[in-house]
């Protein structure tokens, strides 16, 4: 079964078509990677999937439900979460507050305006577990803005995980992380629970081939090829448009 599917998805900005008739299928439980050269339309696609942008044409399905017209937060409650290529964090909140907030929203307690925030011990203990899992236990109460970049990157993923998604979209999770701290991020990504379907958007080929069991290549807004990592690696066309360009850099 498909955890996530797009049918004839299209987005136009004036004359530019960053997403052009994309039919993407992500299997349940898959470790799916989406690659493509710069400007291929990866970010536009993820914004269409998460509802930040509305498609000009086509549908998006999450499991069996059509989510094309749903707002971003409704998609989250249906089980889709994402991370961002550039950190999108709450600078003034601490990690524990941010994670607690996510869990509270997930449990539909977010609109409560009378209880004290953080007074629900069940939620807080789950928060602590997640924080430990992402190596944030020792900075729980620091202001997010003051955390080192690596920790912020971890928090970026932790926030998505805290929503307990069925489908997780990771947008270049290791982007900007120095080599020395990279493995830490990759370990967490690798350790994600198996029942979570992951769609990884990535630039770094080592990460992709070390992680994915299926790869889609996006070029000029269109799905170019799709297949097992081996097939992709050996596909001359992919080498030409993508890997080739990359070695030019």
């Amino acid at each position: 079964m498909n955890a996530l599917e797009t049918i004839g998805l299209e987005k136009r900005f004036g004359g530019i078509v960053p997403t052009n008739d994309v039919n993407l299928k992500v299997q349940e439980g898959a470790r799916h990677a989406l690659i493509g050269p710069n400007g291929a339309g990866k970010t536009t696609l993820i914004n269409l999937l998460t509802g930040v942008l509305k498609p000009s044409k086509g549908r998006v399905k999450l499991g069996n439900s059509d989510i094309t017209d749903l707002s971003p937060h409704r998609r989250v409650s249906l089980g889709m979460a994402r991370t961002f290529q550039i950190n999108q964090l709450f600078a003034d909140l601490s990690p524990i507050e941010a994670i607690t907030l996510v869990i509270g929203e997930r449990e539909k307690l977010g609109a409560n305006f009378w209880r004290a925030f953080g007074s629900d011990e069940k939620i807080v203990s789950e928060t602590k577990a997640i924080a430990r899992q992402f190596g944030l236990a020792d900075v729980l109460h620091e202001r997010t803005a003051s955390l080192p970049y690596g920790k912020q990157r971890q928090l970026e993923i932790a926030l998505a995980i805290a929503a307990k998604p069925r489908v997780l979209l990771l947008d270049e999770p290791a982007a900007g992380v120095p080599e020395a701290e990279r493995h830490e991020i990759l370990e967490t990504v690798a350790a994600l629970p198996k029942d979570v379907t992951v769609l990884l958007i990535e630039h770094d080929m080592d990460i992709v081939f070390g992680f994915a069991d299926r790869i889609s290549v996006l070029v000029d807004g269109k799905l170019f090829v799709e297949g097992e990592p081996k097939e992709i690696e050996n596909d001359p066309r992919v080498r030409a448009v993508y890997l080739g360009e990359r070695t030019d850099d």
């Binding site: 930040v52 937060h73 996510v102 509270g104 977010g110 609109a111 009378w114 953080g118």
Partner: protein, 333 residues
């Protein structure tokens, strides 16, 4: 990870933010004492308390949800007119009047909030301003109901809850306003430290991320806008009950601008900013005004420029913080 090890401890760290600092107790005790100790300043203190409540309502919007408004007087004035008309036509009992005014202003806030959801700071500034200007014109045009520029008079003010007279009782009147301010302050404090309040901070901090962790941004913003409008309406009703006339100045641009200034002077996002700002503004206005009734605006303006030069987001409060930090640094060379 010593004391933070258990969930309970971690929870305590978070909920502690809601508990009261000793300075806060001291502040409210001093406020209560002023009812008995400063009879000569009751009229001014009453005004300060009302402006404080008005600024507090703007703080909920600006300091927590990040919505800039240059038209908050729309709700203040609407509440005042509703309270006055309600008192004239139904009952002059003040608390009932406050509730009615709060509900009415809240409804107006609910309806108009839909216009304020989208856009940048500048857009919001202008849309809120536009709403207030339209409200002003409406109040002016409907002079058969509102008295227009002549003002609305003849509003009865009965004893509060039937036993506590405030009409021409300066001390009682101040006590009444202060109690209302305190109660609504406590409520506001609960609200901003609730999950709802934190979700507002999240929306303010990063709306894109907020929606992608499942926060319904628009409903939350509508909710806080409604609450803030209701607060402003109650503040307006209080002024109507303690001043013998409701006039168009209740709803004019100057009032929207003044409340924004007061809040920025005091600093946003910690609830006391509005109280500190309005106290400073009005006290300065009164005492500088007594010396130079014509040109006090110059000195107020000068003060604003100086504050702006040296302060950060928390207004004057941050100047104090910076001086404290500088002293500390100075102390250990």
């Amino acid at each position: 990870m010593s004391s933070l090890d258990t969930a309970k401890d971690a929870s305590n760290v978070m909920t502690r933010k809601r508990s009261w600092h000793w300075l806060e107790y001291a502040f409210w005790l001093a406020a209560a004492a002023s009812v008995f100790l400063l009879p000569s300043q009751h009229a001014l203190l009453t005004q300060i308390a009302i402006w404080s409540l008005f600024a507090l309502s703007l703080d909920l919007l600006l300091g927590y949800a990040g919505i800039v408004s240059l038209g908050h007087a729309a709700y203040f004035g609407f509440g005042a007119y509703v309270a006055a008309l309600f008192a004239i036509n139904f009952t002059g009992e003040p608390v009932t009047g406050l509730l009615v005014a709060g509900v009415a202003a809240g409804l107006l806030g609910l309806v108009t909030s839909l216009l304020v959801l989208r856009g940048t700071d500048l857009t919001r500034l202008m849309v809120t301003l536009g709403i207030a200007l339209v409200m002003y014109e409406i109040a002016n045009q409907m002079s058969w109901l509102t008295g227009g520029a002549d003002g609305l008079t003849g509003m009865p003010v009965n004893p509060v809850l039937g036993f506590f007279p405030i009409y021409f009782r300066q001390a009682n009147s101040y006590a009444y306003v202060l109690v209302v301010l305190f109660v609504l302050f406590v409520v506001a404090k609960r609200i901003v430290h609730s999950p709802f309040g934190y979700s507002l901070r999240a929306i303010k901090g990063n709306p894109l991320r907020a929606s992608s962790i499942g926060i319904p941004n628009n409903p939350r913003l509508i909710a806080v806008y409604t609450i803030a409008a209701a607060y402003a309406g109650i503040a307006g009703a209080l002024l109507a009950q303690t001043t013998p006339v409701v006039s168009l100045t209740y709803i004019d641009f100057q009032r929207s601008a003044d409340v924004l200034l007061m809040l920025i002077i005091g600093g946003t996002g910690y609830l006391y900013g509005g109280i500190i700002g309005s106290a400073l503004f009005l006290v300065a206005q009164k005492f500088i005004g007594n010396i130079t009734p014509q040109y006090w605006e110059f000195w107020i303006g000068f003060a604003l420029v100086v504050i702006a030069l040296f302060a950060r987001d928390r207004g004057l409060f941050s100047i104090v913080e910076r001086i404290a930090a500088w002293r500390k640094r100075g102390a250990k060379p």
